[in-house]
Symmetry: D2
Subunit: 229 residues, 4 copies
């Protein structure tokens, strides 16, 4: 299992193993990989993920606000911009092909599980420091990278949209995003807890935060799957 | 007097006329235009403005965080990025020519007047909403544009650094930044107070906020000038 | 239907009528009033509400932070204090009688619906202004008051805990809390949108915020009920 | 020199010794102790300190918001309440005796040095975590306690207002406030950096934060003194 260049990520994942696995190996993910994810579940995911990404971009702007060193601000602002400029437009394109236009996407109502994860991350960043914020953001960023790679080594789903989804998250561009997140995580840890995270007074709280973010991500999959039943 | 495309800006400037004038027509600005700004004052300004820009970029990231609509987030994140990528590097270049390297710049200590204006803006954004934040940011963005244009029509200072400073803030690139700020101000106003700002219950508080930001900007010039005496 | 002294509340409730009714007349509330709420649902509610109240007290502290006028700060700080000093202790007492001690309560894990509502309120306050925050807080404060009064006029449930719950929220002490919330809502509105809320540019956003808070409150009841099945 | 029960405070004070001394032994403080503080300086101090306390109470509410454990929330909310209920009223009383009524106090304009320290503290809390916030708050709370005790052992100034000021900050009630601050500082440190603060990766940043807060406090004295010349 790769750590994307962040030993701290590897330790957090290990400490929250059961919650991590329940998230990255969720039935939604499996069904997408097998190609038998119900249409309604996929559409529900796309629509909610559009709303999710807007909030997620807010969280990355919050990281730029909190960090205060030019290097981290630059990287965090770039992520925020990439989310609203690139990823959001990918969803707009995918949804347009399904007959859902931009206005309908933007006017969508966030599901409770979308609210729960995104506002939890934002509040973790406001209650805590930049390390708390990036620890709460990381299950999303690196989890999708791990899911992409897991699915990419399996048989390719026939549905071209599912195959494209896997290609996107297993691909080099997203790989760079993952590496950047890992770098920011390591940098924040160096500043806030130093080189031995497990010896830090914050370790139990950090692992609890990471695990809760994994659970809320799994709940996000679950919501999409439920809508497809 | 141009309003950069924002009638609200024109009204705020009018309501805070004395404080606005004391800021954009400050002796620091005049001396720079005449070309007799003391060297120490200019260097002090450059060093403090580097530290100022880092905090100002944080304030723009805060705006992206608060706004929550993709269009405003995109514009605010771009400003934040331009500040840390472009403007900060301009200062690094100018200061390098004076023998002050990047590390020395970054290690500088913020003067009280740098702390006062930047943290006032940030707090205005946290205590209030996106409109409060952009009203507090605007005297800086549009004030520099007005100063650049005022000085550009006068005789050109012999010192090439002062001439370059005027060119930068009177130039088309900064003009676009000013237009974008004006656009964001109008958009926030449309959402938060509607088309008749002076009839809004918030009008007295908004003009007070704008005026206070002007006074803190003037105090920033004053601090640089004092250091040059 | 009483408005607790806030015409703005009456208008928001009217604008979000369906969501308000689904919340205050939820099956959880009805079952509590009839006295046949399953034991597991009541215990789940108590445990989650303990965790909810901690976050809710944070939101009231945020209001004190944002408001900045001594009178509102005083009232908001008192609410925050009452929540952590009095209401939290009521739950500790009730749970102790059920064999759940304070440490177990505090160590409980927030359900996704607890996370969703509380963090939504906090984020509404940080993204917006004091009026957004109190509009998001109000369905909880005034909703419980309306529920208490509705149930108090019906037949008294045999279970003394349910009867005590109704007495608490229908009683004069909670009535004062409701009146204070209504007063703060009116005061924030006077400052931020003036005397004609429905004419404000913010009216659609404010009603959407209020309605979403009602839906997240209903989801909180739903979560407790589901746990009791 | 007493540490008010906080070894961390003693270490921070030692690490920022020069800035601490320049603050607690400032000419404003000495003049107040000798009894020859100019009337205008004292009045300026009172008026600015009223405005300062409002912002300071906001910072304590922010601590309650950030902390999230009921015990810290309770203590922080009590401080916030004591500031707006008790300390603010003391100033109102003192100023009334000088012919400055409540409305005039509240309508006062914050001096740049009042803005600088208060917004710096608030921003430190939002950029960082609860420990950053309380480290930034502590020079004020414990500095006044140390000043009170220093002056109380010297000759008593003839001006009853100065004598009352010394009594207030040297007295048992303020001593309890100081002990509470020290307790909250230790608690936050235990959670965020553990038992060996000087070994923490955050130590240089924490001492820089503490030192900057001391300098901004000294600038606050300086502003009052300047106004009295």
């Amino acid at each position: 299992m790769i750590d994307f260049g962040s030993p701290l990520f590897a330790r957090l994942r290990e400490a929250a193993r059961a919650d991590w696995d329940a998230y990255v190996d969720h039935e939604f993910v499996r069904a997408l990989g097998r190609g038998d994810l119900p249409e309604a579940a996929f559409l529900r995911y796309l629509r909610q993920d559009y709303l999710f990404l807007v909030q997620f971009a807010r969280a990355w702007s919050l990281l730029a606000f909190k960090a205060g060193d030019p290097e981290t601000m630059r990287e965090a602002a770039r992520v925020s911009l990439a989310l609203v400029e690139t990823e959001l437009e990918l969803h707009v394109g995918l949804c347009a092909a399904e007959g859902i236009d931009r206005a309908a996407l933007a006017a969508g109502r966030e599901a409770p599980e979308t609210v729960a994860y995104t506002r939890f991350v934002i509040d973790a960043g406001l209650a805590g420091d930049e390390l708390d914020l990036i620890v709460a953001l990381t299950p999303c960023v690196l989890g999708y990278a791990e899911i992409g790679r897991r699915l990419a080594v399996g048989p390719r789903p026939a549905d071209p949209r599912f195959a494209a989804w896997i290609d996107a998250y297993a691909g080099p561009e997203y790989g760079e995003a993952a590496a950047r997140d890992a770098r920011l995580l390591e940098r924040a840890a160096a500043r806030r807890i130093g080189p031995a995270p497990e010896d830090s007074a914050r370790w139990p709280a950090l692992t609890a935060l990471f695990a809760e973010a994994c659970r809320l991500e799994a709940a996000f999959w679950e919501g999409a799957l439920r809508a497809g039943r």
